[in-house]
Symmetry: C2
Subunit: 142 residues, 2 copies
């Protein structure tokens, strides 16, 4: 799998949160988990982590919840890196420690353009863009 389950939840939750923020509403964790079909407490942990990393914002208490400051500057790549790290874009596909541009594994060259493409697609895809698609009911989050 390209992304971990945590990362999938993170992205889907971020889209839903941004969607709510668009309507000037915050999203509670129960609502989020329900909306994206994910385990609530597990999702909470992930979002709390994204909150700590300032990719999302949150407030406690009544009328509290998660929200995004600016979904235009929140890109999938940021979420992926925060949750799964950078391995998808840098770790050797064969698991060889020595593998590098200088001492490449036999798949290194072939993987480069693929990884770049992943970087490009995830890097240019903003949460805002996904929200617009979602608002037009182009897809579901679960």
């Amino acid at each position: 799998m390209i992304l971990s389950k945590s990362c999938e939840y993170a992205i889907r939750a971020a889209v839903y949160i941004a969607y709510k923020s668009h309507k000037n509403e915050k999203a509670g964790i129960a609502e989020i988990a329900d909306a994206i079909g994910s385990p609530m407490h597990f999702t909470a942990k992930i979002l709390q982590d994204l909150s700590r990393r300032r990719l999302l914002s949150s407030v406690k208490g009544p009328h509290g919840g998660f929200y995004v400051e600016d979904d235009r500057s929140l890109y999938l790549l940021d979420i992926i890196r925060a949750v799964d790290g950078n391995d998808l874009f840098s770790a050797c596909v064969l698991g060889l420690k020595q593998c590098s541009d200088a001492q490449p594994c036999p798949l290194h060259e072939q993987m480069l353009p693929i990884r770049n493409q992943l970087l490009i697609e995830f890097g240019k895809k903003s949460v805002n863009e996904l929200v617009r698609d979602f608002e037009q009911k182009k897809y579901f989050l679960k």
Copy 2:
């Protein structure tokens, strides 16, 4: 990570086994694990599975070990599918169950060419090709 650890071991082991087969020798599991820097018994399980699936061959007893019938017809894609399944090439990147060509997720279109590229690269890369590189000491297996 693109491939599981099991799958990484599988590919590296297959290359080493094919390399030995090239020299008309069989490879024992202790030797293989040593050559590719992997946990021996764990690697054994993986290879036994590949053996059952006829991607590799093996014989027990003295002068036994693993070998390949024809490394020219053994492609990385076969190994990857045997070990990790087809999810890398088909499962929705956001983990959405409903996602399909007919009802695509917002990343579906962008992922298609990337997945195709992966299919192409893994599909055209034979173990034999990696063995030739390995014999020319172009890279190491650990």
